[in-house]
Symmetry: C2
Subunit: 213 residues, 2 copies
């Protein structure tokens, strides 16, 4: 059964488009990822992309999915108790987003309905129900942790902090010391707020767990 020799291989592939889009977003920001710019980066003309994706949003969805696919899910294999697993997963999730901050604003908008997001939701749901959580609560836990982690990533990584002394009027905002609002402090505030919130969430869920089981 022989076939004709394949014609010269295609210039593009979905994988190459996604990888190049992610690199471009990482290096020059989300606004740099236009179809025309991305195509130029790939050495083709703009409309070529439409042979592989139906829309620009489809491309960004795939990029977002590639980022979410980096999240470690191995802590849900049953070796750890649920609070430990949830904590480890949250940190891995946040780290995956921190590695690609410029895609976070897009990623945070969609519900997690792409493959990697569903795989993640499935892993959390499975581990929580296995640990004894009722299914309805297990669903909620997956959602609320995602809210917290993506919200944290958005606020932390998205836009720079304007270090403008006149913005922070001590008369208008008597409780906010200037020191609390300096740009260089922001990252440690974000980090501390994330860890404090993560612990509070897991501890608070543990209270509910003890009350319902």
């Amino acid at each position: 059964m022989s076939r004709m020799a394949r014609p010269r291989k295609p210039l593009l592939s979905r994988e190459r488009i996604v990888a190049t889009a992610l690199t471009l977003a990482d290096e020059e920001g989300l606004p740099a990822v236009s179809t025309r710019r991305l195509a130029a980066e790939l050495g083709v003309s703009g409309p070529s992309l439409y042979n592989h994706f139906t829309t620009k949003d489809d491309i960004l969805d795939a990029v977002a999915d590639a980022v979410v696919a980096q999240v470690d899910l191995s802590m849900f294999n049953g070796d750890r108790d649920w609070p430990d697993a949830l904590t480890a997963w949250s940190r891995s999730y946040r780290a995956a987003l921190a590695a690609h901050p410029n895609i976070v604003p897009f990623l945070a908008q969609g519900p997690g309905r792409r493959p990697a997001g569903l795989r993640m939701a499935d892993a959390v749901f499975g581990a929580m129900t296995a640990a004894g959580w009722p299914p309805a609560q297990a669903t909620r836990i997956g959602a609320l942790m995602r809210y917290f982690i993506t919200g944290s990533a958005l606020a932390s990584f998205a836009r720079g902090f304007v270090n403008d002394a006149t913005t922070y009027d001590s008369v208008a905002y008597p409780h906010l010391g200037q020191a609390h609002l300096l740009a260089e402090r922001q990252q440690s505030v974000d980090e501390g707020a994330f860890e404090t919130g993560l612990r509070a969430l897991v501890d608070g869920l543990a209270l509910q767990y003890a009350a319902t089981t």
Copy 2:
């Protein structure tokens, strides 16, 4: 002290631009808010807007600030204990965002450095320190609650849920029953996840409070 009579009053004002932009975003979505479309809505030509704002992002910042300004802060007046106040504020915050879902993706990106956001951060910080929280923790609490609330609003209100049976393959995602992913279920999942997470956060913070004071 008389002055010359004012010449015909300006066609535009910052207030009118912001109000019209918010209405347009509410009714037709964020992409409908282009400078040209907004100007047309206001009965002027596109470039006129630049007499009142330096950039389109400045306009959207002001719109976001107007939404945040709707958040009730009266629960921080000292009548309630801090967990009650934090809970009431969170619900008011979420409700303000739910009233204008289309602006949330923009709003969630910036740190809360506009007037209404700073007023809010100041109120939370003031109430938490007054209740006995150390300043560093009070700052973190304001930030982490914002992460959770904006993250929740983004995921809940931003993009519709695709009700596509083929997306949810029971082989690929064995733990996720189809019923859990139907569009009509989504809103109640979001609501339940928000309330579960809010309670967990406040309960978990109460544990930390008891341990540090």
